[in-house]
Amino acid sequence: DSDTVISTDVIKVTFDSTGLLKSMTNMDSNVTVNVKQSFYWYNGSAGNHESGQASGAYIFRPNSSTPMDLFNGKSVSGKVVKGSEVIEFHQTFQPWLNQIVRLYKAKNFVEFEWVVGPIPFMDGLGKEIITKFDTDIDSEDIFYTDSNGRQMMKRQKNHREDYPYVDLEPVAGNYYPINSRIFINDKNKQFTIMTDRSEGGSSLKSGSVELMVHRRLLHDDGKGVGEPLNETGQFGDGLMAIGKHRVLINQTPQAATIHRELGEEIYMAPWVFFSSQTSGWN
């Protein structure tokens, strides 16, 4: 019935009594962001009266703009695993959805390692799984996504620089490709999420950031594949996805330097080799 706090000398993360994320503090840059994070799912459209277009391999078309929360409302059975180098908080949102929030002693980011799948579909509904962070950052309708890890593109909800935006798909119309990072900021603080692969994502309201991490759909989208995006995976019960998001919270003016450096280290991480030979060479 009380908060759980895990921290290093640099970063402090607080979880509320249900085990959901509550706030993050960067003691170096003296920035605190109140933030709630959970996983949600959009019901993939099977086509409706407006359009027969179903959600599928080529098309993201949720049948409603409100994703369903995958938090059971009571507890994520949070568990702390603490050591000299790494401190972790293990969360279970669903039997098929876990997350480990990890702090490294000498690093200035928070690592969210998620394991999603096999996505259940016995209810006959296709599911498009997102992770969503709702913060107290006053970002209004502006957010930034990268272009192949280089230029950061300024995005604005329901608006396009290059053509008149028609609001046919309130969610999908605002999703953008993210190759390495998405961030929101106000004049004081910036909230950056570094991905470990290309994902779709957006900011659909001020202070909020969402990224799609896995999908399982039951209808073909009519674009030529001729089968639904329903991957059964190696074990036949459904593909599982495991991945990481590294989250940075910084004062806005310093944020770019920090995410540029981390982006390089993620994209070109050291190669790791092993050798059984331990003769006297180093």
């Binding site: 695993v81 790494v86 876990n98 089968e227 599982m240 790791v272 092993f274």
Partner: protein, 188 residues
């Protein structure tokens, strides 16, 4: 050249948008993946040889036989799961020094890690998480993960020697034990 050619060819085939995004039929996607894996395997073997040669102390000695583990992210690596001692070699492709955490699947409960200069490196051993066990299913046998912090020079290598504490203990000289000197366990 032949080893690299395979990956080059399959990377060429995979320029198709379906391969990049996995939006073709399932069996077509599986075929793209299989070809890339075949090319990847060949290149890993080649890179492993190159790393070995680069690390040989001089032309007469042979460098270490090195190997990759492709499933480190789900705590699977035959080279470390069943070994009491092994070397971890890191190559940094960035033009500046990098410090990074290494997570390695092991079966022991306590290890001694020596850095490139032979000094002890603090490390942490903890159980493989339920989440990763769920992905791994019945593959891999590691019960624990070993974490340590590594520093790798710009465009360079760093070698860390990992020895399980029980193995390290065996290295205490036998006569020391006969004098009833209490074996001091390797620093955690």
């Amino acid at each position: 050249e032949a080893e690299v050619e395979t990956l080059k060819e399959y990377m060429g085939v995979s320029q198709h948008h379906d391969s990049i995004t996995g939006t073709a039929k399932q069996h077509v996607n599986d075929d793209y993946t299989k070809r890339l894996h075949i090319g990847n395997e060949k290149c890993q073997k080649l890179v492993g040889l190159a790393v070995g040669q680069l690390m040989a102390k001089n032309s007469s000695t042979e460098g270490p036989k090195t190997q990759f583990c492709n499933y480190l992210n789900i705590s699977m690596c035959p080279a470390t799961e069943n070994a009491d001692s092994f070397a971890v070699i890191l190559y940094n492709p960035i033009g500046r020094n990098v410090s990074t955490y290494v997570k390695i699947p092991v079966n022991g409960a306590s290890y001694h890690v020596a850095g490139p200069d032979g000094s002890s490196v603090t490390n942490q051993v903890q159980a493989v998480s339920d989440a990763v066990q769920r992905v791994r299913r019945d593959r891999g046998s590691a019960k624990n993960d070993l974490f340590f912090f590594a520093h790798v020079p710009a465009l360079g290598f760093a070698t860390y020697q990992v020895t399980s504490a029980k193995q390290a203990l065996k290295r205490v000289r036998p006569q020391a034990l006969s004098n009833n000197v209490k074996a001091v366990p390797a620093p955690a």
